[in-house]
Symmetry: C2
Subunit: 195 residues, 2 copies
DNA sequence: TTAAATATGTTTGCACTGTAAACATTATTT
DNA sequence: AAATAATGTTTACAGTGCAAACATATTTAA
């Protein structure tokens, strides 16, 4: 009898999980639901994930890949202020278009994020990207700026991006007519944070 | 036989729930756990809460009361910029000291927040408070400012407060030595957002 | 090439969860 | 005092995470 071994079960489970969170929400994500979706016994996933949290981490990583891909596409900007604003825009738009990805990535579904090396790296990469843009901006303006100072600014900018993204996806502020205008206003506020 | 009726079960359940989220975390909060803690049958809470979400809303409301109390205590500030910074400081400190209250209040544990009138009012009150401070500030500076414009600024400030609070409580940034310095730096950035 | 080891499935079982339904007791209203 | 409403309990069911024992396929070593 073939097919006793699935062949690509790990990836199938991740895909199933992603489908569930997109179609039904994070509350509906369960090890057993992914197994059922694939047609495999409800404990089969445990051969590939120690526990549910590990599956969540795997899904989050896919999210980071997607976000990373979008941000990469605007690498060659000479105007660093523009670059920061565009990066912020992509971040917020990603959150709006992939709210459950976003929640899994930046929410409180993973207990000790530092336990997961790949996850932490993905997270850190994003953060360092912000810090670099800030340093370049300061250089261009011929302003002295320590990495500590740039780091604080990065925290501030990340905070506003994160907070605003959550405001929209949690409170359904998409009901707002003028949401696009609002996003642009917020992005302008980010410029304030640069100086 | 007395004590068949508890007398104050609804409040006891809320208190039990609060104890659980403070001592063991939100994941450990369950209708059944509150019932067990009080020594009542596991379905008794359903006479007072339609479902788990209603209990969560009740707990969140207690959190808003606590936060509201803290913010109220600094009413008579003449310097509106100072008032905004102090308000922000209280907000962040509340989040740090009551992370599970904070998560329940501002996280994604309640599906349709607008369904719960009291909850929405408490939330709205906080937001309007920020907006008012901004309007006063602009008035003092003799700057024209529509309520729409003030509202956007309020969203921006709330976003950075919310985002930063989550950064700290989710990512355990309290490990950072210089956290207090960091908070002050972030609060200074909020001043940037006012203008 | 065969035997042992390893990887990857399934079955079974347990403790916990939310919540509906039927029933019991007490408090309140008529 | 009797009917009604409020507030408990018991029982039941389906869903969950996950551990343990077992089954089968694949890989590795002799």
């Amino acid at each position: 009898m073939t097919n006793y071994h699935h062949g690509n079960l790990k990836n199938s489970i991740i895909e199933a999980g992603i489908n569930i969170i997109f179609d039904e929400g994070i509350e509906k994500l369960s090890i057993r639901a992914t197994a059922k979706l694939i047609g495999v016994s409800h404990t089969a996933p445990y051969r590939h994930f120690k526990n549910k949290e590990e599956l969540i981490v795997a899904i989050a990583l896919k999210g980071f890949e997607k976000l990373e891909g979008k941000i990469k596409s605007l690498k060659n900007y000479s105007n660093t202020k523009d670059l920061m604003v565009k990066t912020g825009k992509i971040f917020i738009e990603f959150a709006c278009d992939n709210r459950n990805y976003y929640r899994i990535m930046f929410g409180n579904y993973i207990n000790n994020k530092t336990d997961y090396h790949d996850f932490f790296e993905a997270y850190d990469k994003l953060f360092k990207r912000l810090t670099e843009i800030i340093l370049k901006y300061k250089n261009q303006k011929l302003k002295k700026c320590s990495t500590d100072e740039a780091s604080i600014t990065a925290i501030a900018i990340f905070s506003i991006l994160h907070g605003y993204s959550l405001l929209i996806i949690d409170n359904n502020e998409d009901k707002n007519i003028g949401q696009k205008k609002q996003i642009n206003s917020i992005l302008k506020k980010i410029e304030n944070l640069l100086d």
